[in-house]
Symmetry: C2
Subunit: 84 residues, 2 copies
């Protein structure tokens, strides 16, 4: 069993309206020192797989089919083995 | 200058309907080995601060005031120094 942490971010060339909205809110709360806000998703899931390769393969497959939009987003996968 | 990565997650006791929806979608795509999906946010920002303590203080302040909902969410802050 593995725990997978998938981080999905908009590609740097894609505008991030949610990040811009947060940046404006920060400015109006007087956080002038905070800028360049980008918002991504972190998806945690449990993977029932025999080994690390099989787990990575399954999660990568799920990212391409469902979790990320490969045209606009990049993703990274981090795996931790769960001791049962 | 620092880059801050803020990870905001729903507390474990709070139901995550977005995670549940993803889990159902994964099941119907035949990813039976993936379960316990939880969705969080990863917010990247640039911090203009003299030192690490000041940067952490500013980001923590922003988390409490805007980025996270302390009743329902937990957050972690990771800082990386940017070489200019």
């Amino acid at each position: 069993m593995f725990k997978a942490i998938v981080t999905v971010k908009l590609r740097p060339s894609i505008l991030d309206p949610e990040g811009k909205a947060i940046e404006h809110a920060l400015q109006s709360l007087d956080f002038q020192q905070l800028s360049d806000v980008r918002v991504g998703k972190e998806i945690e899931l449990t993977v029932d797989a025999a080994d690390r390769d099989a787990a990575e393969q399954a999660v990568d497959d799920a990212c391409r089919k469902l979790l990320a939009n490969p045209v606009m987003e990049d993703y990274t996968i981090e795996l931790q083995e769960l001791t049962s």
